[in-house]
Symmetry: C2
């Protein structure tokens, strides 16, 4: 089933306690798309400058990620982010950010992509995210990510957007900031009161919590841990690949019932665990759907007792 | 099967953002014993002053927790701890601590308790924990908890103790401190190199990670999340009730194979989730084994997809 994502496409420089890599293909929509492409074709909406290497476009197209909605701004430069991970490989600091063409991103969904049934709004300015909603009116489900910057500085737009969503994905500190609730279950309830049918609170190395209404309106809460790994090379894009694996599986199954949502979260968890095993998308380009399914089985066994 | 625990028995004053309760029955051995008593009789070794209320002893005895090894020091006062939880209900600060008789605790295991097969050394001075080992020579398995204070200031004694253990339980920051490893899986491996067959890293609201060798020496790693709850009233004793539920189940089953260990951790998780629902042991005194088994089933369903 058709899956549309809008978000950033970037060139990243990443520093870890062990090494530094420059000019990595990055961005929320990129990590999302690659992760989702194991499950379903993807329609990417984003913007880059004319410095954006053709090989990156080819990589995405080779994965059945349509870049028809990836605008190339003549004379513009691609969004660039440089970050450094601390020793714990969870906390990071942004060393440099150049929004470039992403700073005036005005997303246009190509005509033939507007009938998308599954829509994901990766982290971005809420008003820009909202623009995509009005161009994807055939959607069955729309899920969005957000961050502290928009919660603090674009609250009105964000509230309006959240009212339109089926699902919201955000991290634990952002869930607390958005709702003023310190307990994540309570924070989840507060988000449901804002409109969405479910919220997924990402907890980084600790996994993710789901709070949602089931088909009869009862609230269901569950937590799935991260897939434990020693081999964390670069956490960049973990949250986006989680969302990509999840939305990709939902689109593949063309279902959004509670059982499918839970399996989708498990797939997202497993895909994210591969994403962090290499810089940028490096590990992802080596992985097969069979390996994802094998790790999903290992994850399922891990949680059975 | 016989289960012996040595540790603190205390009177706690607990402040939360919502309210304050004084003169609660607390202490690591107390929370452990009560939790374990749902599964098996418990032999408690500890020390209190003559200010320790008889009703507390009666409560423990009513749960089949033998207090024969609970020394009453004439003229002494019981260990007292006063703490305050911050808004997130995870971080806390110690407002006052009076070790009193626990400061010179010299544990003596009663003669008829020395044949215990399951032994838990709750958090305490490593040299004092070691004294119990030499009085429980028929043990099948010994597991200990520890903390940053002993890692920093009694390292030699602690290393010697860890070399004698089958299992070590400690929290995530302590695991990192003990091993110098920032990744918890790596930290777990480093603990196994120190002697134990398994280590359980407690992650508070995020659950617990197991790193251990299976019967053929292969390393198994798994994470179990906490049971999600909105109703966190007082987290004091969560870790000890987790250990109590876990060791109690192992003793009940009289088995320590990997599958039983995982189910035991699940029971520990569920028992701890009840423990935090009231001040001190208040919620625990209302709970039945049936309710624990019901929640275990809900937890099992939560983790199935």
């Amino acid at each position: 089933m058709s899956l549309l994502v809008v978000g950033s496409v970037a060139i990243d420089n990443v520093e870890t306690p062990v090494e530094r890599r420059d000019d990595l293909l990055g961005g929320s929509a990129t990590h999302f798309s690659y992760a989702a492409s194991f499950f379903t074709p993807v329609r990417l909406v984003g913007v880059v400058g004319d410095d954006f290497p053709a090989e990156h476009v080819e990589l995405l197209e080779s994965r059945n990620v349509s870049t028809k909605g990836l605008e190339r701004k003549a004379g513009g430069r691609t969004f660039r982010w440089t970050g450094r991970y601390l020793d714990n490989m969870n906390d990071r600091e942004t060393l440099d950010v150049q929004l470039n063409v992403f700073g005036e991103f005005d997303p246009v969904v190509p005509e033939e992509h507007r009938d998308a049934r599954y829509v994901f709004l990766a982290n971005g300015v809420p008003a820009v995210q909202a623009k995509v909603l009005s161009q994807a009116l055939d959607r069955k489900i729309v899920v969005a990510d957000t961050m502290d910057l928009w919660i603090n500085e674009h609250r009105k737009d964000l509230d309006a957007l959240i009212g339109e969503l089926d699902g919201l994905v955000l991290n634990d500190s952002e869930a607390k900031l958005l709702t003023g609730q310190q307990n994540l279950v309570s924070a989840g309830h507060a988000v449901l009161d804002m409109g969405p049918r479910f919220v997924i609170v990402k907890k980084g190395e600790h996994g993710a919590m789901f709070i949602g209404r089931d088909l009869v309106g009862a609230i269901e809460v569950f937590t799935l841990p991260a897939f434990p790994t020693e081999n964390v090379v670069d956490p960049t894009g973990a949250g986006d690949s989680f969302a990509g694996g999840m939305m990709g599986y939902l689109a593949e199954q063309d279902a959004v019932d509670p059982a499918t949502l839970k399996t989708a979260m498990a797939y997202g968890t497993v895909v994210a665990s591969f994403n962090v095993e290499g810089f940028g998308l490096h590990r992802m380009t080596e992985v097969t759907r069979e390996q994802i399914d094998e790790r999903l089985e290992a994850y399922k066994r891990m949680l059975a007792f």
